[in-house]
Symmetry: C2
Subunit: 329 residues, 2 copies
């Protein structure tokens, strides 16, 4: 694969993932449609293996590695969905995985990652660097580092969610005016854009981000990479990458429409609607694109629009906060 | 169709529902499998249009009616999932629907049913009979009464959920040892048994019920219809039919294994696991089969088992009760 991945690369990834990942449904709610005056489709990637889309990219990456590299194992650092996706992809392919996680990561996330058989290396968030530790392990074992988003193999793997979505809409006889996907480093959003536009070139694809962490929206607006001022402080814990990636940003400039930015309250409202109308458990970061559609920032009226709900790994307390909201009342 | 429906009738219903109902996914959790020592599949019918499987039977019923009967409209009585499924099926087919609902039904359920364009007739639960009112409307307009479960057209429509489930398992290369579905009057459980056993005759199919409302389990055990002592008092508000149906029970005797009976606490535990591990919103009545598998009443160890999670129409307060539980802690 060249450094600028194509629609054909997404299609090839789709063939690798066939029978491995869940073909997640494209859902619709008659009541939500009536309220918005258009058709809103939800691509339910929260139902994916390990509770998020991340296994698509991770599995595709492992499947693209050489046999000899796979035998030496893989290394990743993440306290969230990438860790679980990578660990499970490695289990499915019989590859040894080492995941570097902060010692203060939630016990549940550590246990979930360990449950896939990965070796967990804990580090001190204050005194140590996870990159240094990860690279050290990789060097010693000859293992391959699997990045969370900034690699063509990852990006086209995530893009299979967009390819599926476009195929599902086509089967329903629907031409999508717009698609939106959550965006942290940009792997999902640019991959989805590749996958969607390959089948449906007229569809506009948007990246959704939380307010204060809208590096992609600002970078697209000015035409060069912008950083976020902060590294934490949004309810969307999965969307806090500091800036767009070197692989993802050039593609984003070519493929994406203007960015969509939503508040934490809009995200909680969207989680409540996902619960009530779509019967889905969506985590905050997974709900930003849905939030943009429900808040009117991504117009649905008179149009056909699809949003990716990218993950469902949310703790009980945060979900309870969402259940307290009544956005339509 | 003869009064004893067949696998071919389920297949025919499947063709009628193609492109109308959601082909809901068959989901699996690596962690749940590891804990149970087998493979547990969840057929996520809570993601179906209107939030439950009920639209399958209702739409199939309407599709089987004659054109002249359809022009005269349909009547149903229900305060729950059947009302919403029937109203939406009627909207999709352009048929006039009248739904008789208790005046004290939750405002949300009335609004949801009205949102599909059905005419709502409210009645006084204490002083009036919904059957009399419904039959009166039907007589006057020449409309057809659509029963909630005890009719071959309804039963084989619900059975398409079982047919899909069996096809999905086959595609995964899995031979199912057992399947379980929630049971009120028996339309879903017997329909699913027809659909599953047509493709996979060796699979045992079970009906799941809440404790105290286990009329089907007791009826199967003694070989003739038994009634429940009470008409209310379980958290599973969708599973309170007083006894098995006249159409469903003979089929149940032929097709079903022993009944599975679960407590309200086991149901709440299952709803929490559906939230945490499957990212699904499941209502109490929809979770009884999952509850039986998780509580060890339907053995999963060393086997491949599928359960239907049949609906997701649960209010916020009940869901909060489920979130307070930690069955694995």
């Amino acid at each position: 694969m060249s450094s600028s991945p194509t629609f054909a690369d997404v299609q090839a990834a789709g063939r690798r993932l066939e029978g491995i990942v869940v073909r997640t449904p494209l859902l619709e709610s008659q009541r939500v449609n009536a309220r918005l005056g258009g058709r809103l489709f939800v691509k339910a990637e929260c139902l994916q293996r390990t509770g998020s889309f991340k296994i698509r990219g991770a599995y595709n990456f492992l499947a693209c590695m050489s046999d000899s590299d796979r035998r030496k194992g893989v290394v990743g650092w993440s306290s969230g969905n990438h860790a679980q996706g990578l660990a499970e992809a490695a289990r499915l392919m019989g590859v040894k995985a080492t995941i570097v996680m902060p010692a203060d990561a939630p016990a549940l996330k550590v246990a979930n990652t360990r449950a896939s058989g990965a070796e967990i290396v804990l580090y001190d968030r204050v005194k140590e660097s996870r990159e240094e530790i990860g690279l050290g392990i990789a060097r010693k074992a000859g293992a391959t580092v699997v990045p969370p988003y900034d690699h063509p193999w990852i990006l086209v793997g995530q893009g299979t969610a967009g390819l599926e979505l476009a195929e599902q809409a086509k089967k329903l006889g629907v031409t999508l005016d717009a698609v939106a996907a959550p965006c942290s480093g940009g792997g999902l959003a640019t991959g989805v854009a590749l996958g969607v536009k390959g089948l449906s070139p007229s569809t506009t694809v948007h990246a959704g981000e939380p307010a204060g962490f809208d590096d992609m929206a600002r970078s697209l607006a000015v035409g060069r990479k912008q950083r976020n001022a902060r590294l934490s402080g949004s309810i969307c814990d999965a969307l806090l990458a500091p800036e767009p990636g070197d692989v993802t940003f050039p593609l984003a400039r070519k493929l994406l429409g203007p960015g969509l930015v939503v508040t934490d309250d809009e995200v909680l409202d969207a989680m409540e609607v996902a619960f009530r109308e779509f019967k889905l458990v969506v985590e905050p970061g997974g709900a930003v694109a849905l939030a943009a559609a429900l808040a009117g920032k991504l117009p649905v009226s008179g149009r056909a629009v699809a949003v990716v709900c990218s993950g469902g790994n949310v703790d009980h307390d945060t979900f309870r906060r969402a259940l307290e909201r009544r956005p339509d009342a």
